[in-house]
Amino acid sequence: MSDASSPTVSASGNILIVEDDPETAAAVAAVVRDLGCTPVHRDTLEDGIAESAGDYRVIVLDRMLPGGDGVEAMARIRAGGSRALILVLSALGRAAQRVEGLEKGADDYLPKPFEPEELRARLRALLRRGTMQVLDNDLLAFGDLEIRLKARTVHVKLTHVSVSPKEFELITYFARNAGQLVTRMQLLENVWNLHFDPGTNVVDVHVGRLRRKLEDAGSHAIQTARGEGYVFAPLPASEA
């Protein structure tokens, strides 16, 4: 049994930024430093690929770079022995292009323009993914909130909370990113597997329903984060 509630991962390590627009690179670097990691910046594809052989946890990769398309270069980066997770950050942000990037092996794909919070949430999720590979226990426990993965049940204070299949996927995704900001776009991509902006905040309705169910059972695990998304923080924060 594991208690997955330890909120903040104190991240460290290097993150490679391959980006030709200096302002964007600076913004990404700021986010990286925020996370406690060290940014390394390269502004052409060739330099980026050469540098990727180093010890990096995540590579933030642009697409339309001097020297070529970052998505096409991912195979070369992998061939160079890099085990870093790749986040494609690109102006090519149509749904088809995002799906293409993910299908070609990107671990995440964020279109420009991006909110710093969105990038931070995604980088954090990737850093976590790098460290929490073995979180395959059947039981996820956050204080009095328990999620059983095999039985697909949710209990609050030992009371069963009835959730729909989608709501279960939603709470599981939240739980895997407990303590971190989870954006609407991340939910849409990871829970619904949809890679376009539907315009309306369809996700809010679902999160709202799940939150009410949890609140009715006495858990204030899901909180709205200032405009950008939600935080699943089942422990003290709710009572505070």
Partner: protein
């Protein structure tokens, strides 16, 4: 797309050409042979006639010397030597004086009494033709002198057999040549057809391998290649242009967002600006999605997609929103309906339609999704009982930037691209898009071609 059927039998044009050639050659050969036949027939008849004339001249000379007696002796002599002739001399009472025949042939009329060859007659004796001269010599002596036409008939029969064999040979050779030509032409054209099929299936870079032959087919291949090069270049330029536009627009927008994020103390204003920018990007993406879907129309790149599953997922996402707005949603999705498609595009279509419906319908309105199999198609139908389309908008509801005036008046936001994208994506899938007339509200139906396994 079905590949071209390349069996030579399908080369109808080549076959027609070969048939015309064969008939023309056979007709000419037959005409030449017929002329020759006529000529030979004439010559042979002439020869027999000449022999008959010589015989008659001989008998005439004998008759001049000793009348019937001499003729009788001559005939008796020639009959005895078994000459290949028809000879008969009779007396006044019908008794045979000499000759090869047992009696006067029935129905043969005696013409005149001289020894001239004209008029001669043709008679059939023992199954073969003879050229005969029938006379009644002065004093009532019937005389018959004839030469056989059997050699003539045999020769002509041989010629006719030859002609039939030749005709058969000409037709056989023509058919063989036609077959070979069809195989060869289909082989050459089949390459081009196969190339066209590959291009139609989405492989714009497909080309024919090997050198061009220096003939009309080689020329055709060269032209097709030139055309494909041009299409590919245009297509690449279009894609490149849309990528460049995206890059050039989103990069500065990105800088703006980064700076906006650093602004403090005007959160509402910043949020409003960001929302505006998101809206602009959405519109822009829709335009690019539309032009991309239109450019890819009929092309490849589609994979088997579970239409029912995608529809159910997107429905699941929007159903809650519809319920929250007081609509009465219900879905009836036949599971497991497969189509050849692009999951993201299909999801976008349904999301657009649902978004529209929820936007325009009010509390109490019904919203029904059905996905059913009917007549070789998988139909996705979304019906609402909302305000429907204004009658004047039905015709061009799917055109870009079409918006109802009442929406502008009511302040409903939108850029008029949602339904245009729906149309482009439906066309991309070869699906039939229609707006069935209903008593109330709007019904949109997209009938995808069913994927058979």
């Amino acid at each position: 797309m079905r590949p071209a059927d390349e069996r030579p039998l399908k080369a109808r044009a080549t076959w027609r050409l070969a048939a015309v050639m064969a008939v023309a050659v056979a007709a000419l050969a037959m005409l030449a042979m017929a002329l020759q036949y006529r000529l030979v027939e004439g010559r042979l008849m002439q020869a027999q006639r000449a022999l008959l004339t010589a015989d008659l001249d001989g008998f005439a000379a004998l008759y001049d010397q000793r009348r019937v007696i001499a003729v009788r002796e001559a005939i008796a002599l020639r009959t005895a030597t078994g000459a290949d002739e028809m000879l008969l001399l009779m007396d006044r009472q019908g008794g045979i004086l000499a000759g090869t025949l047992p009696g006067w042939p029935a129905g043969l009329v005696r013409d005149g009494e001289g020894f001239t060859v004209d008029p001669a007659q043709e008679v059939v004796q023992d199954g073969s033709r003879w050229l005969v001269v029938a006379r009644e010599l002065p004093g009532g002596f019937p005389l018959l002198v004839g030469r056989p036409l059997a050699p003539v008939d045999d020769t002509l029969a041989a010629m006719r057999r030859g002609m039939m064999v030749l005709l058969a040979a000409v037709l056989a050779v023509a058919a063989g040549t036609g077959w070979l030509a069809a195989v060869w032409v289909m082989g050459r054209i089949g390459r081009v057809n196969a190339l066209a099929d590959r291009v139609a299936a989405g492989d714009l870079a497909a080309r024919l391998p090997g050198p061009r032959a220096p003939d009309e087919f080689g020329l055709l291949e060269t032209h097709v290649h030139a055309m494909l090069d041009r299409i590919e270049a245009l297509n690449r330029a279009t894609h490149h242009l849309s990528d460049t536009i995206a890059h050039e627009l989103r990069t500065p927008l990105n800088r703006m967002v980064q700076r906006l994020s650093r602004l403090q103390g005007q959160e509402d204003e910043v949020e409003a600006l960001k929302a505006e920018m998101r809206q602009a990007i959405r519109m822009f993406d829709s335009l690019l999605d539309i032009s991309r879907a239109e450019a890819d129309q009929g092309g490849g790149g589609l994979v088997p997609v579970d239409l029912s599953a995608v529809a159910a997922e997107v429905w699941d996402l929007y159903e809650a929103l519809a319920e929250d707005k007081g609509l009465v949603p219900r879905a009836q999705v036949t599971p497991g309906l497969m189509v050849l498609g692009d999951r993201t595009l299909i999801a976008q279509v349904l999301a657009n339609l649902l978004d529209n419906a929820i936007k325009y319908c009010g509390p109490g309105d019904g919203l029904a999704l059905t996905v059913t199999a009917e007549a070789g198609r998988h139909a996705l139908r979304l019906a609402d009982t909302g305000p429907g389309l204004p009658e004047d908008l039905r015709a061009d509801a799917f055109d870009r930037f079409t918006r109802a005036d009442r929406d502008r008046a009511r302040g409903i936001k939108g850029h008029g691209l949602g339904l245009a994208l729906v149309r482009a994506i439906a066309a991309r899938h070869g699906a039939r898009l229609s707006l069935p007339q209903t008593a109330r509200g709007l019904t949109v139906e997209i009938a995808f071609p069913a994927l058979r396994d």
